[in-house]
C-alpha cells in the first residue's frame, strides 16, 4: 500500500516521457512535410512581450525575461531541426539602456548567466554545432558581459553547421553609422596611399579625376562589407511577437525584402504553430519573389 504513490509517480513519469517522444516524432514528421517546400535560410526574431507576460501572470519583474529565454531555446531547437541555417535574435537594444537601472542590471545579469551557459557541454551550442556571433556596439556593455561574449565567439568560431546571431547593444542606425565611419576611414587611408604614390605627378586634371573616381568607388558593397551583419545573408522572415507591428530599429538595412510577421502571442507564449504559420506564409510568396529577383 505504501508503495502505491511511488508506483503512480513512476507511471506518471513514464507516460509523460512517452508523450514527449510522441510529440518529438510528430514534430519531425511535420517538419518533413513542410520541407517539401522552400525553407527560409535566415530567420530573425524580435522577442517582445516578456514584461507584459510577467505582468499578465502576476510574476515578479525579472521572471518574464527568464520565461522568454526558455521560449527562445525552444524556438532555436525548432529552427535548427527544420534546417534553417541562420537565426538572429534581438536580445538588447541600445534604446533599452534607457529603461529603469534595476531592470537593465537584471537583464545584464541574466544575459551574463545565459552567455556563460552556452559554453557548457550540454548546451544547445554543442547539440547543434552553432557558431555564435554577438552583433552590436559591444563597447557599451559592461566588461563582464563583453568578455563572456568574446569568449563564446572565439570558442564557437570553428562551428559551421548553423549560425546564431545575438544582437546585443544593437541599433540598426548605429550599425549603419559605424559602417559609414569605417568607410570614411578606409577611403581616407586609400587616398593617403594613392596620394603618396601620386606625389610626383603634378597634373591637376589627373587629381580631379581621381577624386571623382574615389566617390564612384564607394558602392553598396562598401557599406555592406562594413556592416556587422555581413556575416549572414539577409533575413527571409522577421517575426516580432506580442502583436506589435514595427521594426524598432532592428535590421533596417537587411529586412528591405523580408517577410514580416507579427503574431499576437507574447514572446514566452510563442510556439511551434507560430513558426510553422510564418514559414507557410513565406512559402506562399516565395516563388513570386524569386521570379522578381530574376527579373532584376
Amino acid at each position: 500500500m505504501a508503495e502505491l504513490p511511488g508506483q503512480i509517480r513512476r507511471m506518471g513519469g513514464g507516460i509523460s516521457q512517452l508523450l514527449e517522444q510522441i510529440c518529438g516524432f510528430s514534430r519531425r514528421c511535420l517538419f518533413q512535410v513542410i520541407s517539401m517546400g522552400p525553407i527560409p535560410n535566415h530567420l530573425a526574431f524580435i522577442m517582445d512581450g516578456n514584461r507584459r507576460y510577467a505582468k499578465k501572470c502576476g510574476l515578479e519583474d525579472g521572471s518574464g525575461h527568464k520565461a522568454g529565454f526558455s521560449a527562445l531555446m525552444l524556438m532555436l531547437q525548432y529552427c535548427y531541426e527544420l534546417g534553417i541555417k541562420y537565426v538572429t535574435i534581438y536580445a538588447f537594444s541600445i534604446d533599452n539602456f534607457r529603461r529603469q537601472p534595476e531592470e537593465v542590471q537584471s537583464l545584464m545579469d541574466l544575459m551574463l548567466e545565459k552567455i556563460n551557459s552556452l559554453l557548457e557541454k550540454e548546451s544547445i551550442v554543442h547539440q547543434y554545432g552553432i557558431r555564435v556571433y554577438f552583433i552590436g556596439n559591444l563597447a557599451l556593455l559592461n566588461d563582464q558581459v563583453r568578455v563572456a561574449a568574446e569568449k563564446v565567439m572565439k570558442a564557437t568560431a570553428k562551428n559551421s553547421r548553423v549560425v546564431l546571431l545575438i544582437c546585443i547593444a544593437y541599433n540598426s542606425t548605429d550599425e549603419i553609422v559605424q559602417a559609414v565611419k569605417k568607410s570614411c576611414i578606409n577611403k581616407s587611408d586609400n587616398i593617403k596611399a594613392s596620394g603618396n604614390y601620386k606625389h610626383e605627378d603634378a597634373d591637376s586634371d589627373v587629381e580631379r579625376k581621381d577624386m571623382e573616381n574615389q566617390e564612384e568607388r564607394i558602392q553598396l558593397v562598401d557599406i555592406e562589407e562594413n556592416m556587422q551583419m555581413s556575416v549572414a545573408p539577409n533575413p527571409d522572415i522577421l517575426i516580432r511577437s506580442s502583436g506589435e507591428a514595427r521594426l524598432s530599429n532592428f535590421l533596417l538595412w537587411q529586412t528591405g525584402n523580408s517577410q514580416l510577421c507579427s503574431p499576437a502571442a507574447l514572446w514566452p507564449e510563442i510556439g511551434l504553430r507560430h513558426l510553422v504559420w510564418a514559414i507557410l506564409n513565406f512559402q506562399r510568396s516565395h516563388s513570386y519573389l524569386e521570379k522578381r529577383k530574376k527579373q532584376l
Binding site: 513542410i34 540598426s172 548605429d174 553609422v177 507591428a245 524598432s248 514580416l260
Partner: protein
C-alpha cells in the same frame, strides 16, 4: 497542455496528410499545402482571442472615434495591388494604375483634412524598372499626366509637392514636369505630399553615405562628427519637417517593406491591409489611423 494537444493533433493530421499525399501523388505541391494551411491557421490563430484588436481590415471605425491630437504627423503608403485590382475587375493594367493614381489624390486629400502634415507615397521603385517595358512607359506617362494636370489643384489646396528618388533614368519630359510642380508649390508649408519615384531605401542611405565621405575627404567634417543626425540630414526625406513616418500603410496583404524607406522606418508603426490599393477608401484609412492611435509606442523603454 496546449502544446501537447497541438502536437497530438499534428500527429493525427500528419497521418491524414500522408494518406492524402499517397492518393494524390501526382497533384501539385499547393494542394497539400492548402490542407496544411487550413489546419495550421486554425491552431496558430485560435488562441489570439484578443484578435478583435488586430488589424485585419474587417471592421469599420467611425471618423469621430479618432482623436485629433493623436494623429500621426507623417503617413507613408506603399500603394500595392493596382494590377490585381485591374485583373479582378476585368480591366487593363494601365486602368488599374490610373485607379491607383486617383485613389492617391483622394487619400492625400483625406489625410490632410484629418490634420496629417506629410504624406509620402511609393510611386515607383528602382526594382520596378524590371517590369515589362510597356507597363513602365505607361506608368511614367501616367505620373506625368497627373502631375501636370494637378499643378493648379495643389496650388489651390496649398499643398507642397516634392519628388524624391534617383530621377536620372526617368524621361526628360517627366523630369521637367517635376521641376515645374516643385517650383510652383515650394512655398507651401502646412501640407506636404512626397512622391518616391525611382526610389530605393538602400540607395538613399548609400547616397547619404557618399555625400558624407566626400565631405570628410574635403575636410568639411571629421570622422567623429558622423552620427545618426548627420545621416538623417543627408537623406532625401530631409525635404520635410517630419522626415520619419509615424505610420506606414501597405495594401494588398503583402507584409514587406520592399526597399521603401529603411532608415526612416526605425520606429514607424506598420499597418498591413488586405485591401487592394484602388479600394483603400476613407473607411480603411480611418481604420488604419484608429489602429495607430491604439498602439502603445514605447521606443524601447517605458511600459
Amino acid at each position: 497542455m496546449l502544446s501537447l494537444l497541438s502536437s497530438l493533433l499534428s500527429l493525427l493530421f500528419v497521418f491524414l496528410i500522408s494518406f492524402f499525399i499517397i492518393i494524390t501523388s501526382r497533384c501539385s505541391f499547393s494542394l497539400s499545402l492548402l490542407n496544411l494551411l487550413g489546419f495550421i491557421k486554425f491552431t496558430a490563430l485560435k488562441d489570439d482571442d484578443d484578435n478583435y484588436k488586430r488589424d485585419e481590415g474587417t471592421y469599420v471605425v467611425r471618423e469621430e472615434e479618432l482623436q485629433r491630437e493623436l494623429m500621426p504627423k507623417h503617413v507613408a503608403v506603399i500603394m500595392d495591388g493596382n494590377r490585381r485590382w485591374a485583373k479582378r475587375a476585368g480591366l487593363l493594367t494601365s486602368q488599374g494604375h490610373e485607379a491607383g493614381a486617383k485613389r492617391l489624390i483622394q487619400f492625400s486629400e483625406l489625410c490632410f483634412k484629418l490634420g496629417i502634415h506629410t504624406v509620402s507615397a511609393f510611386a515607383f521603385s528602382t526594382e520596378n524598372w524590371g517590369r515589362h517595358k510597356v507597363e513602365v512607359k505607361c506608368l511614367m506617362s501616367l505620373i506625368q499626366h497627373y502631375l501636370k494636370s494637378k499643378i493648379q489643384y495643389f496650388q489651390r489646396e496649398e499643398t507642397r509637392v516634392s519628388v524624391i528618388g534617383n530621377l536620372t533614368k526617368i524621361p526628360e519630359s517627366l523630369r521637367r514636369t517635376i521641376h515645374e510642380i516643385e517650383a510652383a508649390t515650394k512655398s507651401y508649408k502646412k501640407k506636404h505630399l512626397i512622391l518616391a519615384i525611382d526610389y530605393s531605401g538602400r540607395l538613399d542611405i548609400l547616397r547619404a553615405c557618399k555625400s558624407i565621405v566626400k565631405k570628410s575627404e574635403k575636410g568639411l567634417i571629421q570622422e567623429e562628427d558622423v552620427d545618426e543626425a548627420l545621416i538623417e540630414r543627408e537623406l532625401l526625406t530631409d525635404c520635410t519637417e517630419f522626415s520619419s513616418p509615424d505610420l506606414l500603410i501597405r495594401t494588398s496583404g503583402e507584409q514587406r517593406i520592399s526597399n521603401f524607406f529603411l532608415w526612416q522606418l526605425a520606429y514607424t508603426e506598420l499597418f498591413f491591409s488586405p485591401v487592394l490599393w484602388p479600394d483603400f477608401d476613407k473607411d480603411k484609412l480611418v481604420e488604419a489611423l484608429a489602429s495607430f492611435q491604439r498602439r502603445e509606442r514605447r521606443f524601447g523603454c517605458q511600459i
